[in-house]
């Protein structure tokens, strides 16, 4: 951590090796185009690198801070005009096979319960997590979209995460 603060090269490598796949997983869920997702991953690390001084351990886990940077960049990219135009030009069929080829999801042995996890989450919990975590909806937007009261959205989100906690414990 102090190596990071001092901006040493070894720290960058360690940071990359530890977190690149997790971050790329989140980015890839938001942006299906691999090349663009890779760009966003790079932008994410550059931003992390530049604004590292603004992170403090007291405010929470490093990953939380990093993944929020990645999510913001990815969602910004998704909503940017460029990307929308570019997406219009891509045929849907091609896109599907392309994504399938590129999605090399890594399942770590100790986390083999992922399938069970997906089963344990109720559909409405999965949906709300999907919208807020991966589609960049605010909970207010999600409430509008689903036509559900704000309080319910919050509760469902909490339940979904509680479910995750239970699973990991």
């Amino acid at each position: 951590m102090s190596a990071l603060k001092n901006r040493e090269k070894i720290a960058v490598e360690a940071l990359y090796d530890m977190y690149s796949s997790s971050l790329f997983g989140v980015i890839s869920r938001i942006i299906t185009d691999t090349a663009t997702a890779e760009d966003v991953l790079q932008e994410t690390f550059v931003k992390i690198w530049h604004s590292f001084s603004s992170y403090s351990t007291e405010k929470g886990r490093l990953f939380t801070w990093m993944v929020n940077i990645a999510r913001h960049l990815a969602i910004d990219k998704l909503r940017s005009k460029d990307f929308k135009n570019q997406n219009k030009n891509q045929e849907l069929e091609n896109n599907v096979t392309f994504i399938d080829e590129q999605r090399n999801t890594v399942y770590k042995p100790e986390l083999l319960g992922i399938k069970d996890l997906v089963q344990t989450l109720k559909p409405e919990q999965k949906l709300i997590l999907e919208l807020v975590y991966f589609k960049g909806y605010t909970h207010v937007e999600a409430a509008d979209e689903l036509g559900i009261p704000l309080g319910t959205i919050k509760t469902r989100l909490r339940m979904a995460i509680l479910q995750l906690r239970k699973h990991f414990n």
């Binding site: 790329f24 991953l41 886990r61 770590k108 992922i114 919050k154 990991f168």
Partner: protein
Amino acid sequence: MEDIKAYIESGILELYVLGDVSPDEKLQVEEMASKHPAIKTELEDIERSMELYAAENAVEPTEHMRDRILNSLVVNLADDNNFPTKAKPVKDNVVTLTPPKQNNFYKYAFAACLALLIASVVVIISISNKLNDANTQLLALNSTNQHFANTVKFMDHQLDVYRDTTFKIIKLHGMPKHTSSTMMVAFSPVKKKVMIDMADLKLPANDKDHQYQLWALVGGKPVDLGVFDKISGDTSDMKEMKSLALAQAFAVTLEPRGGSVNPTMDQMMVIGTF
């Protein structure tokens, strides 16, 4: 305690972890977390589970991405380091100070080379100009020299005629109509040569339709010795005429250009006996 439980259950902590809170709410959550360990623990649990959730959904980027990103960061690292390294001791100072020195050296060296090059070009141009001048002068001198050499050679030739004892100088005198006309003829019977002295030629200038013709009287008959012109301001030429071994007298008549077979007697200008 009830408040804390209600706060946790409101779902605000989850939204906080997801970054879906307003700046005010964010500050509030952080304040609560610092006050109540239970909230802090709850936050950490949420964060950890979200991190594990992300880890489960991890997608390994391709190998080239590692180099690409690390390289781009190393470049940034270099940029960023310019500032902090100044505060650091010796080792980094050397790194930051050395390049500008080198740059300056090459800059000055380049400038010096350029100046030298320009100076050289100027010198070369001026020297080449001088060389051209010298060459021109040399040519002029050469031609003058040649001219003098020719003149001297020519003079020698003329002198030879006078020195040669076999040559007889005959003065031709003007006829009654042209009393002021005279000329000199040098004749060597031994060498069978007849020369006329163009410098001492005192004859009226002939027009372009006529020429003077030299005759020799041999046994009472005129023999053609060739034609010549009287050109005003002519050189000191000794003109060699046709070969002849024997003559009693020489005479000059004015004849149509190119000469005649027989002399026109009433146009006789000068005559002299041998």
